[in-house]
């Protein structure tokens, strides 16, 4: 029975890695769609979300069945419990990529003569900071890498700073017609979603850190 258990544990591990790569693809595509105002690519992200949601539910179900059947303890318990939480973060990141993609579709529809270059560059920079956080979170899970998991979150302050800069620029450099307000709101939201993707990635890293170390303090101290 223990072999069955470890076999099923391995299966769940593979499922989470696969779900992670789907989410990673969604985030990359949503950022690219934003930069290029590519509504088709945005639609692809929106359509792909169903598969991510299905993975979430199916992994959760496998975790609960495995816990009921085998009553795991110690690292096996920490691992299964952490996976149940990690998949929720992944699912949420998938949703954020969808949110960004919906903004892309809205803005693309209006064919607005686009952002000034400066704001665009800041958003690209934000994306460049957030992507490695997500990659690191997924990589630390995949390789059970405690060092990598503990390094996540280093660019948090930078991301926050860029977000503030975007806000400042948006609210000072535009005349506020109704169109402008709509536009500004969308950009504000997009930057907020990017920032949340970074945060959720760090949360995943914390869970990885917890199941590897068994130290619950990681949640109190932050990483």
């Amino acid at each position: 029975m223990r072999e069955t258990f470890h076999h099923k544990l391995e299966e769940i591990n593979e499922d989470v890695i696969l779900m992670g790569s789907l989410v990673q693809e969604a985030v990359y595509n949503s950022i690219e769609a934003f930069i290029e105002m590519n509504a088709d690519l945005a639609q692809k992200v929106i359509d792909g979300d169903e598969k991510i949601n299905e993975s979430d539910i199916s992994i959760e179900e496998k975790c609960i069945v495995l816990q009921a059947e085998h009553q795991p303890v110690a690292k096996d318990l920490r691992y299964l419990h952490s996976i149940s939480i990690i998949i929720k973060y992944l699912e949420r990141i998938g949703d954020l990529a969808v949110n960004i993609s919906k903004i892309v579709k809205r803005l693309a529809r209006e064919k607005r003569k686009y952002l000034d270059r400066e704001i665009m560059d800041l958003l690209i920079e934000m994306g460049n900071l957030v992507k490695p956080e997500l990659n690191g979170a997924l990589e630390s899970f995949k390789n059970k890498d405690i060092k990598l998991a503990s390094k996540l979150g280093k660019s948090d302050d930078m991301v926050d700073e860029i977000q503030k800069m975007i806000f400042r620029k948006l609210f000072t450099s535009h005349k506020c017609s109704e169109e402008d307000i709509k536009f500004i709101t969308n950009i504000v939201l997009a930057s907020r979603y990017l920032e949340r993707i970074g945060d959720q990635s760090v949360n995943i890293g914390q869970r990885v850190l917890y199941f590897l170390s068994g130290d619950y303090k990681v949640f109190h101290n932050g990483v």
């Binding site: 223990r2 258990f5 009553q71 795991p72 303890v73 110690a74 690292k75 096996d76 318990l77 920490r78 068994g214 130290d215």
Partner: protein, 260 residues
């Protein structure tokens, strides 16, 4: 009630069957009114260790102990210890219920009567109290004169617990007390063990990891690492710690079923 007072001190304890050393260098403090579970693979000496505390191992020939077992400040392996008195203070429950082939009533009063004389009224209240504390009273109060062997396995085990409670022990040793019982009887025994810790120091040997996790506050993990070597105490810590984040890899491997 579970407090900081140390009830039992084990110091550098070792045990021999003839020339063979089966337990080596065990040291631990057991707190009063707590439940301590002893876990470990089959044959590692858990039951031998348990029987150390009431000197039951001496009933076998050619056995020898080293180190100290100190209960309430007194080394129980000193020559001047009255073993009968010691075993009155330390009750024991076994894997299979072993009531005497007598009535329920006679089973409970058997112990107290050995130690002194009681009036009929006193015996009646001992029976009622003991059966109540063993959570069996409501099920048997109308049939105290039926044969104990007519009870179900789970009831028989609770009767055995009532029988030992009747002599007011301080420490209760349990050797896989629920392993021969069905899930519902097991649950009743576990609930009972949990209630008993208010007033007794309990040491329980169990093969069931979930049971150890459910009922105990402390866990001691014994392990024989190599054949022909004695078992040692690998880890002794709070139950929550052992089952979520054990400190020793061997404990982790054992409780997660990677060996043993």
């Amino acid at each position: 009630m579970s407090g900081d007072k140390i009830k039992i001190k084990v110091r550098n304890y070792g045990f021999y069957y003839g020339a063979v050393k089966v337990l080596s260098d065990i040291s631990m403090d057991i707190q009063e009114n707590t439940i301590t579970a002893i876990i470990g693979p089959s044959g590692c000496g858990k039951s031998t260790f348990l029987r150390t505390f009431n000197r039951m191992n001496e009933l076998l020939p050619n056995t020898r102990v080293e180190g100290d077992i100190i209960i309430d400040g007194i080394d129980i392996y000193k020559d001047n210890i009255d073993v009968v008195d010691l075993r009155k203070r330390i009750g024991m429950v076994f894997q299979r219920p072993n009531p005497f082939p007598k009535t329920i009533y006679e089973n409970v009063i058997y112990g107290p009567r050995l130690h002194r004389k009681y009036t009929k009224k006193q015996l009646g209240s001992i029976v009622e109290n003991s059966l109540k504390r063993a959570a069996l009273w409501d099920e048997v109060k109308h049939k105290l004169n039926t044969n104990a062997l007519d009870l179900s396995g789970g009831q028989q085990q609770r009767l055995c617990i009532a029988r030992l409670l009747a002599v007011n022990p301080e420490i209760i040793l349990m050797d896989e007390p629920a392993s021969a019982l069905d899930p519902s009887s097991t649950q009743k025994i576990e609930d009972l063990i949990d209630e008993l810790k208010e007033n007794y120091t309990i040491i329980i040997v169990t093969h069931n990891m979930q049971q150890a996790a459910r009922v105990s506050q402390k866990v001691a993990f014994l392990l024989t690492e190599n054949i022909c070597e004695p078992a040692t105490l690998v880890e002794y810590d709070d139950t929550n710690k052992i089952f979520t984040n054990p400190g020793d890899k061997r404990t982790e491997d054992y409780i997660t079923g990677r060996f043993g």
